[in-house]
């Protein structure tokens, strides 16, 4: 018999993260009758704001407030969670920058199992968890199986589950800050260094022409620029293009880059790693052009074209210029 399901609520600047609602859906995949408990860490008025918001969707919200939790330092958050979570808890975490930092160690300290970056979950007949994970940049997927009854920490990929928008829980906020013990840590947050702002703000454009490894050569960026000019958009890119220093970091879309909300997204030579897709919000119309018919991008795109972008884009540009 699996323990109570807890959901860690990510938030920033007093705004609750999208994953807070997605994880309800994830919890229901494990147990349709689940009444997950939300756990929120932080401090001050922002925390209360987030707790109140979470209470709309969770019947119970555990509030853990401390100045030490003002910035989500994984080591401090771990201590806070250990103070209140039972050993057999089923914990759902968003697989983001905090989740990656926090969950492996948390599972060790709880002596529970850890499943990273799950994109689908199901409970088997014998009460085990069966999760779907991706490997090799999404080229292949795998089912993993593990026991849940000793407790489990599951990191769920943001965006993998549709958010539960009902907001009808009318839950209570329980302040368990008093149960927090010593939160002293050997790791101390100093500051957040903002990424340099580039020449073009890709977050402001309705149409994005995104280029990836498939563009092949730095010189070919011109082809993308021409298409962008023709459609009245701007060029953005995936991480390898920035790593190769072909474009500035400010042009990168993805979890380690910018988050964009365009209307139309033309993914040119982009394979579609989830880190990249994680930066595309607002459900744009995605057109994927890729040489490899097996590229994962085709699973999320609205329209797919199997073609070499270096040949295809100039033809498309020409046609668009004709009007």
């Amino acid at each position: 018999m699996a323990g109570q399901i807890y959901v860690y609520i990510a938030h920033k600047g007093g705004v609750i993260d999208d994953t807070a609602l997605e994880l309800i859906a994830a919890a229901k995949k494990i147990d349709p009758a689940a009444r997950p408990i939300a756990v929120v860490t932080g401090s001050g008025a922002e925390l209360d704001q987030v707790c109140a918001e979470a209470a709309k969707s969770y019947s119970q919200v555990v509030k853990l407030a401390s100045p030490a939790l003002a910035h989500p330092n994984a080591e401090v958050v771990r201590k806070a969670l250990l103070a209140i979570l039972p050993k057999d808890a089923v914990i759902l975490m968003p697989h983001g920058y905090l989740g990656m930092d926090l969950s492996p160690g948390l599972s060790v300290k709880l002596d529970s199992t850890y499943v990273a970056d799950a994109i689908d979950l199901e409970k088997t007949a014998d009460g085990k968890l069966k999760a779907v994970r991706q490997e090799y940049g999404g080229q292949v997927s795998t089912h993993v199986l593990c026991r849940m009854d000793d407790g489990i920490v599951i990191n769920v990929r943001p965006g993998a589950f549709s958010p539960d928008e009902s907001r009808s829980a009318g839950g209570q906020v329980v302040d368990k800050s008093g149960e927090l013990g010593d939160l002293a840590a050997s790791r101390e947050f100093l500051e957040l260094v903002q990424a340099a702002v580039g020449d073009v703000d890709i977050t402001k454009s309705d149409v994005l022409v995104a280029v990836g490894r498939g563009i092949g050569d730095q010189e070919n960026l011109e082809i993308a620029e021409e298409l962008a000019a023709a459609v009245g958009g701007v060029v953005c890119c995936s991480r390898p293009i920035v790593d190769a220093k072909w474009l500035e970091k400010s042009r990168q879309v993805g979890t380690s880059g910018q988050t964009v909300k365009p209307k139309v997204y033309l993914a040119c030579g982009i394979s579609g790693s989830f880190q990249h897709l994680g930066g595309i919000k607002g459900n744009p119309f995605i057109v994927a052009i890729n040489k490899n018919p097996k590229a994962p991008i085709f699973q999320v795109a609205d329209v797919g074209i199997v073609a070499d972008v270096v040949e295809f884009l100039p033809e498309l540009t020409e046609r668009i210029q004709e009007g």
Binding site: D217, Q218, E219, E222, A244, K245
Partner: protein, 697 residues
Amino acid sequence: MNSILTSPAAATFLGIPGPVLFTLITVVGMAAFTYILVRRFAPLLRAQPDPRFSDLPQRLWKLLKFGFLQWRQPRYMFPGVLHILLFAGFLVLSVRSISLVVVGIVDGFVLPGLGGSAGVVYSVLKDIAATVVLAVAAIAMVRRGIFKPKRYEVPARYGKDHTWEAVLVLGLIIGLVTFDMLFEGSEAVSQMRAGNDVGHLLPATGPWLVAYLLGAASPGVLQAVHLGGYLLHELTFFAFLCLLPFGKHFHVITSLPNVFLGKLRKGTIKPVRWDVKEEELDNLKSLGVKTFEDFTWKQMLDFYSCVDCGRCSDNCPANAAGRPLSPRFISIKSREYAFKRYPIFGAVGPAGEPLIGNALHEDEIWSCTTCGACEEECPVLIEYIDKIVDLRRGMVDEGMVPQSLQKPLSALEKRGNPWGKMEKKRADWCKEAEVPVAVLDGGGSAETLYFVDSITSYDDRMQKIGQATARLLTDAGIEFGILGAAERDSGHEVLRFGEQTLYQSLKEQNTEAIQATGAKRIVTADPHAFNALKNDYQGLPPVEHISQTILRGVREGRIAFNPVEDQSKVYTYHDPCYLGRHNELYEEPRQVLESIPGLRQAEMERCRDRSFCCGGGGLMLFFEPEEEQRMGVLRVKMAQEAGANVIVTACPFCLVNIEDAIKVAGLEGEMEAIDLTELADRQVKRQVTAIDNCVNQ
């Protein structure tokens, strides 16, 4: 004829007898000069070995052609002719200078053999020579000092302007000949006054002019001019001598030996160490050139011999494209470093000091495409490519390899091609060859082996070259096979990018695979593979480039071409570096073009041995240099200037670069590029049935 004026050896200077003074000047001058030379050659004694005394006849021929006949000088006509005159004048005057030195010590000294009429002839000759030298030096001084040709400019990153050095030495040369003219002219006037015949005094020569100008001078003035001229000549002479080893005029001493010692085999790369066998390189602690002493003595002599004429950099495509490379400054900076490290007085610089970061920097060494334009142009035969490769070997050994090159190198190691594509796909291009291609990876033999190499095997566009080559070989009646999955990259660029060990491994695998086929000859359409198999590898059957094969087919009547229909097309042939300059195959591809009826041809100004590199092949495709523009774009513009609208090349890498450049230059539709094999394949007369019979087995 006895002299009328008191000769230097008979005179006293401030109470010092002439012979004493001039012996002193000579001894001090020669001692200083010897000391300086000994110090200058100190690093050569600590340098790596370099066998340069083989093939004497060939070396003597080089010395005559490039040394005494100054073969390359007229490639830059005006300055070249000036230099030839100056050089010839110097040769004549060197004899005069030696005898002049002795004249101050032994009164009336005449060099053996220059006594009688030979002496008169020589005297006339040297007067002409002196006059020519004076005129040339004056013109050169005006040219360097006032007109300042762009070629000699020193970009800020390479230090200060060198004009003063040129002007100073030209001034010394002018001084030398002028002082001698004063010395001789004053005596001539005196002789004429005495009614003696000075018939050898040719009108319009310097001494004649001096004699004319001094015609009215008093005997006292003449005597003073005579002795003063001599004294100043001696002082200038030794000053000049001792000054030579301090800069570019060292070439006066080192360039003739440097030409004699020049590299004999084009297209090759020197071994890592001449004294260590290839298979024993693993025993070395360090590989390649890292410190100055890792250079060979000949490489150091190259630095000393650089004339700073800038012809190398003027022809260097990397320099033209704004990459951080100027071959001239590889020599100049290295020479300056050598002078600093081995000072005339004082201790040698710290042991083990790396060259990269102190004399040279990484980017300039990676920027070279090894096209060879610099070496083709250098009047004193300085070798750049071997040094670049040696320096790259040193950087590779230290792990200092640009990130953009690490992936292709590791793919070459694991998969035998720079893209990391699977070996089993290497022969996939054959499927669309339209003729049967024997793939010999599972054994089997062939008379002729077609070595395809990586880019033609794997690149979608370049596979067309392979397919055209296969068809042309079939047309020529040649039964051939390819190595397929057993083929590895030829490693041509791997060697030239300094990854010696990886190159050796590729070479061994290819050599073994080729020998297993029992092939009697090898043909390839890739000049880089051609050069690798022909010049880098050992123990292989003869290698030819497809242009040679096609031409032979034409001559033997096996291959004939249909006329070119589109007369609006003007073709220009771009010489690939490794076909042209490195292997001197200039005519064969052109003759193939000429054998196509109705093909209109234009020649670019920079063609044949002056061809301009398209941007480089092999690993250069992966390297991302900092540059202002692409070499290929410059090349495409040259084709445009020549009035051409089709660039024919004979190398897959040239085709990649030029096709890219056409796009970058925005000339799509106006300019196109085609490989020689594709053009020949398009124009070749074939009976339709013949193709039908051969369709893909």
